[in-house]
Amino acid sequence: MFHVCRMNGYDFTIAGAALKALSSGALWWPQESLLVVSDLHLGKSERIARRGGASLPPYDTRDTLTRLAADLALSHARTVVCLGDSFDDLMSADALPEDERQWILRLQAGRRWVWIEGNHDPGPVDVGGTHLAELPLAPLTFRHIAQGPASGEISGHYHPKASINARGRIITRAAFLIDSDRVIMPAYGTYTGGLRAQTPVLGALMRDEAIAVLTGPVPVAVPMPR
């Protein structure tokens, strides 16, 4: 497939499945024509305003969807898996402006679309697609939060980011954490912060030989910072 070759990414294999970590922070599984994105946090600015916080620029949802649409245009994915925390809370999903809801429905047209439940969006949402607690698709399993021992597990939740010191310059990017058992994906949403890869909870989940793949114009792999 010619369009897939143009996609900028880092190739790796886990549990026998050949995957590509894309520079955008999405994960591509060519064999299944499946695109995974995690932690979209759609409606985050709306939720903050609703709770009496600052009125942030209300363009986060459209920015996130713009990037997702670009990844879909390149990949022509037959299946999309949103790995949980797709909405900043369940009310955000209901409060989605009509044009943005229509946009999501257009993106869903002609393909299978799975919303995995996350801690921010633990119930079904009324925006098309299928709702699942987790999705097993041998040899992989898609769920929001990584579980203890696992094999071929793709999860999100932690928003990992990694820094490397390149000739004195600290460069920090959202990052995939990858080892032989699992992938922890970076957050895809525009208004999302990151959790440093050095954090003990991530260190405990990942094997010693894990790598971090930093997102950015060209994804780069480094040993996972500890």
Partner: protein
């Protein structure tokens, strides 16, 4: 009220004092609506401000708060309380004096609101917080006078703008409120008078006798200052000798990091074990208080300090002030020296200690300026709108308000007297709805207009969040530093988050004068242990960096044209001569540019003499041009005289780089994307309430930290480029950090007369630039190249490269075995 009552006359006589002429004049004008006193420290300035208050309160029939005292420093409020308590106690006056700062306990604060003292001492931030409460009218009922101490310091910053807005509120609550400002010597008293008066009321200015001229000189040492660096370690023996010869010495530094290093070195050389302390704003409060206490008791022979000790605190018998590092600004130098000396009519004694040879030139230029009585300074523009936005939110916290009334009230502030209704409306709309082109928050507006036309908070819980974020001081994100113990060890102070991120366990750094070893990060606290063995790294602190004034820059530039420098120490004259020999000295009317390799990077230095902000902008413009020309710039740093740019490829054609039309054409477009704009945006958006530094739940866990303000900035520029916040950012950047005017002036003055020298190594004159803080990274292609190189190196050295696929189409890394 012009005559001193008997009680006071007796007290003065018992002390053997007579009333100063300016104290008498202040007393006579006690009923003036606004009064500004310009007086040197030590001249009983504080008492001048409070004398009418004490006399008025002497009969004991005043109910509630009488006088509000505002100072820029918490420590100053505490100090003034001590100084006032003495006469009040000795004369047996029925006066209750209390302070309230960020450090005051919650119980005490509550009581102060219910039962306010006669004299209330506070800071601009605490005042802004107090006017945000709905009971403010009750608390400030009966208030007659407000005394603003060190107003010249506040007048230069947004803290002063916020304070004046809060005062406008108070003036509405107490229409007869009289304003008194106390200021050190400044070049333009009318500007301060304009800021502090209730516009358009007049403000009378009283000039006290300035006292004798300071006895100020440069410390000359046998050993020459180094070529570069800010530590002034070479001067330690000479400084120690001075400390021994004087009773109490204050040793000022321009930055906290420099203070730390100097203190460390001082202790290593302090063979007589003289009691010497350290004091700066990043140290833990208890540590600071301990040093302050010891100082007041006269137990210390010297204090190594920064601007945190800069304001008129009474430190007792200070008989020598030493300034380490070039003073940057003549007015500030004179004020710093004058304030530290609290003996009226005795000349202040001060020594300048240049940290390196470049600073020798600056110090000599500054001394000449002091002798010529040439103070410097630039006028500030109209009141900043980010502060205005915060004030609107604060007003809403206090209760429903009518927009036209608020607008009129704000216009009584000098800084906002020219504010247009449209500009005000835009700020109000921003506070209410976010002010976005996409009207997304109709349901969740922060402020709503009620049917009766008054504005109020939609969600009353928002008041708590707004109050948590009151203030205009931009502190970078810092982390607390503690000794590692089981149950939380001794707090030492704080360091910048960015610096903490570069630490790996085992690294050492200096804090509070001791070397500590980084153990790890626990929650949001840096844990350290004592470590005496190693040479420390240096913690970076975000200190205020003053730009060298136009006037002082010009003096330095003129000195460079001399054939010889008899007024300079021999070593510095030789250094300039050496620069002339290996390269050249920047000539007036010409632009010197040096290019040379250093530290595996191609370096270029542009000696523009356009001031720090101008040089900073020049750095941004030039790196942008270099990025376009494929020279892979990595970053730059600017001083008042020069900009140093480093990158992967050398500059060969500076004429093209500096083409004025290209620079100017580029200004508007690239302003949008650069780091200074993002930094300015972060500051302004935080003040205006778009970014909340503190939220009820934040920073407890440190997990999924808030996303960076850069994301908001990028989102706004992309989807809403006309938004108010971007407009404010542009305005703030242009007046603060951009200063394009001085670049144009420099290009005009040197048009076509560029001296470009390609040299084999760092030149004498450029060496100090390599130690400058505040390096600005350029996030261009070079970063991608570096990242790829470093990633490859890491993968190679870790061995992971062998098991990772090189060719994307043929994965060779099979995991699980």
């Amino acid at each position: 009220m012009a005559d001193l009552p008997d009680t006071f006359r007796t007290w003065f006589a018992a002390k053997g004092w007579s009333i100063h002429p300016h104290q008498q004049a202040m007393l006579e004008r006690a009923d003036a609506p606004a009064l500004l006193l310009i007086a040197p420290t030590g001249g009983g300035k504080t008492l001048s401000g409070f004398l009418p208050t004490l006399i008025d309160l002497a009969d004991g029939d005043h109910e509630g708060m009488h006088t509000l005292y505002i100072s820029p420093l918490k420590a100053l409020a505490a100090d003034i309380k001590r100084n006032l308590t003495t006469p009040v106690a000795e004369m047996g006056l029925p006066v209750r004096i209390e302070e309230r700062t960020g450090d005051t306990t919650a119980t005490r604060r509550k009581r102060q609101r219910a039962d306010p003292p006669h004299i209330f001492l506070t800071t601009p931030e605490s005042l802004a917080l107090l006017v945000s409460y709905d009971d403010a009218p009750r608390m400030f009922k009966g208030l007659k006078r407000v005394v603003i101490d060190e107003i010249h310091a506040l007048a230069e910053s947004k803290r002063g703008d916020q304070m004046m807005l809060a005062l406008a509120r108070l003036q509405t609550i107490c229409p007869d409120l009289k304003r008194v400002g106390l200021s050190a010597t400044v070049e333009d008293p009318t500007a301060i008078a304009h800021l502090m008066a209730r516009h358009p009321d007049p403000c009378e200015i009283l000039q006290a006798d300035p006292g004798p001229a300071p006895d100020i000189s440069m410390l000359r040492t046998d050993e020459a200052p180094p070529w570069s660096g800010g530590g002034a370690a070479y001067a330690i023996p000479a400084v120690l000798e001075q400390v021994k010869q004087h009773k109490t010495t204050l040793i000022f530094h321009n930055t906290r990091a420099q203070a730390e290093i100097f203190f460390h070195n001082l202790w290593l050389a302090n063979d007589d074990a003289l009691p010497i302390g350290i004091h700066h704003g990043s140290l833990d409060r208890q540590q600071r208080e301990r040093v302050e206490g010891a100082m007041v008791r006269g137990e210390l022979r010297a204090i190594v300090c920064t601007g945190s000790l800069d304001l008129g605190i009474d430190w007792g018998d200070v008989d020598l002030v030493i300034q380490i590092g070039a003073p940057k600004n003549v007015k500030r130098l004179v004020q710093r020296i004058g304030r530290a000396n609290h003996r009226y009519n005795a000349p202040s004694k001060a020594l300048l200690v240049p940290a390196n040879r470049f600073e020798v030139v600056e110090c000599v230029a500054a001394l000449e300026a002091v002798l010529d009585g040439e103070l410097d300074g630039d006028p500030r523009g109209p009141g900043p709108r980010d502060v205005l936005c915060q004030h609107i939110l604060i007003t809403a916290c206090a209760g429903p308000f009518e927009e036209t009334v608020l607008y009129s009230e704000i216009k009584t502030c000098g800084a906002y007297s020219t504010l247009s209704r449209a500009a005000f409306d835009a700020c109000l709309d921003f506070c209410a709805t976010g002010g976005y082109a996409l009207r997304a928050y109709d349901r969740w507006q922060r402020l709503i207009k009620r049917p009766d036309g008054l504005w109020q908070l939609r969600d009353p819980r928002a008041a708590q969040r707004i109050r948590m974020n009151i203030g205009t001081i931009q502190d970078t994100d810092t982390l607390k530093v503690r000794m590692k113990r089981n149950r939380g060890g001794k707090p030492l102070g704080e360091i910048e988050e960015g610096f903490a991120a570069t630490l790996t366990p085992g690294d050492t750094f200096l804090i509070g004068g001791q070397i500590v070893k980084y153990e790890g990060l626990r929650e949001m606290t840096v844990e350290v242990s004592r470590d005496a063995a190693k040479k420390p790294r240096i913690a970076t602190f975000m200190g205020t960096k003053f730009a060298t004034s136009t006037q002082l820059s010009a003096r330095v530039q003129r000195m460079f044209t001399q054939d010889a420098w008899p007024e300079l120490p021999d070593h510095t004259a030789k250094w300039l001569a050496l620069q002339r020999e290996v390269s050249q000295l920047p000539q007036p009317g010409r632009l010197l540019i040096e290019s040379f390799p250093h530290d595996r990077r191609a370096q270029t230095v542009v000696y523009g003499f356009a001031g720090r902000n101008g040089q900073q902008t020049l750095g941004l413009l030039l790196t942008k041009r270099m990025e376009a020309l494929g020279l892979h710039p990595l970053g730059f740093v600017a001083t008042d005289y020069a900009t140093l740019i480093w990158g992967l490829d050398p500059v060969t054609d500076p004429e093209t780089l500096l083409d004025p039309h290209a620079l100017q054409d580029g200004l508007e477009t690239w302003l949008a994307g650069n780091a200074v704009m993002k930094r300015t945006f972060r500051a302004s958006a935080t003040i205006a309430g778009l970014i909340e530094r503190n939220t009820p739940s934040a920073r407890k866990s440190g997990r999924q930290a808030t996303f960076s303000s850069d994301i908001l900035y990028d989102t706004l520029t992309k989807y809403d480029p006309e938004h108010l916040m971007l407009d404010i950012t542009r305005e703030e950047a242009l007046r603060g950090l951009v200063d394009f005017g001085r670049i144009e002036e420099m290009l005009e003055r040197t048009r076509g007369r560029i001296d470009h020298l390609t040299l084999p190594r760092v030149t004498p004159l450029s060496a100090p630039l390599f130690l400058e803080m505040g390096r600005v990274p350029v996030k261009g292609e070079a970063e991608e190249r570096l990242l790829a190189e470093e990633a490859a190196r890491l993968m190679q050295s870790s061995g992971l490269a062998q098991i990772t696929p090189a060719d994307a189409s043929k994965p060779r890394w099979r995991v699980g075995f």
